[in-house]
Symmetry: C2
Subunit: 171 residues, 2 copies
């Protein structure tokens, strides 16, 4: 009981953790936003390396992953559920019709704006709560399986694909 | 004063956050280790994409960055200071003579083992202390500029290059 009360009594440190993880996420987002500003549609359509995913596919993929945070965190349903089939459940060569580059950019920004809007309403305590895909039993045993941990993991996922998107840069 | 005392009174949450950030770092390391097991020397020597860094250069680069954590965290001098010139201060095309692939693998593992050894001796509180490159004044103003934040940033940096190294996989 004492430990529980201590936890609740210390919002400052909790806020510091959130600031660190959230700051890393925002940094990766600003990097993707810079690429969106920089690349032409032709660059987005190009393969990041021979035989590898195009920039457009990776942009759709990152958007679909970000969109998935909305239901995972219990906020709302996905904004663009159709992206899941195109960019998460299927590879680029699936033959599924994909949105235009301008729409992909719009979707990424839309998802990012919506997530950020919800994130900004979260208290530091909310971040340490479990997400929808973890059972109460598992969470009691493994309290690190919280929303902040998902954010850390998604940030690394975005960094991974940013490393590939960087290959679209014109030397 | 009360806030300070509350901070020290809550090791559990601090440990939880360290576990999360440290877990993300270990996950990225295990991914690089898996590539070391998987790729042939020929694969390491290949460019990750036409005109882009070779696997070997990225491996040396990640090793040199990891090695830099030793002095940055105040543990000790670099294990392999010569890597800094080859893989941090100069691009691949510098013409500097580089180590053999077998040595690069050995260096990466050596650095990683040494860092992990030091990390495991750190208390959760140590992680929230400032690193060498931040002044006491800046740290007082921006307490998120601590060692754990550096680890989060380095983890994302490694993810970025892992996304590129993945392109060396044989389909």
């Amino acid at each position: 009981m004492t430990a529980q009360r201590e936890k609740k009594s210390n919002p400052n440190e909790r806020e510091l953790f959130v600031k660190m993880a959230f700051g890393a996420w925002e940094l990766q987002n600003s990097r993707l936003e810079a690429l969106i500003e920089e690349f032409s549609d032709e660059q987005w359509r190009a393969e990041t390396a021979p035989g590898k995913n195009s920039g457009a596919y990776l942009l759709g993929h990152l958007t679909a992953v970000g969109d998935g945070l909305l239901p995972l965190f219990g906020f709302r349903e996905r904004l663009y559920p159709e992206l899941e089939e195109m960019f998460l459940k299927n590879a680029e060569k699936s033959g599924l019709k994909k949105p235009a580059i301008a729409d992909l950019k719009k979707y990424w920004r839309g998802v990012n704006l919506k997530i950020t809007e919800y994130f900004r309403q979260m208290s530091a305590e909310d971040w340490f709560a479990k997400h929808v895909a973890v059972s109460a039993e598992d969470y009691a045993r493994e309290p690190h399986r919280n929303k902040l941990n998902v954010l850390i993991s998604r940030t690394n996922h975005q960094s991974y694909h940013l490393g590939q998107l960087a290959y679209l840069k014109v030397k």
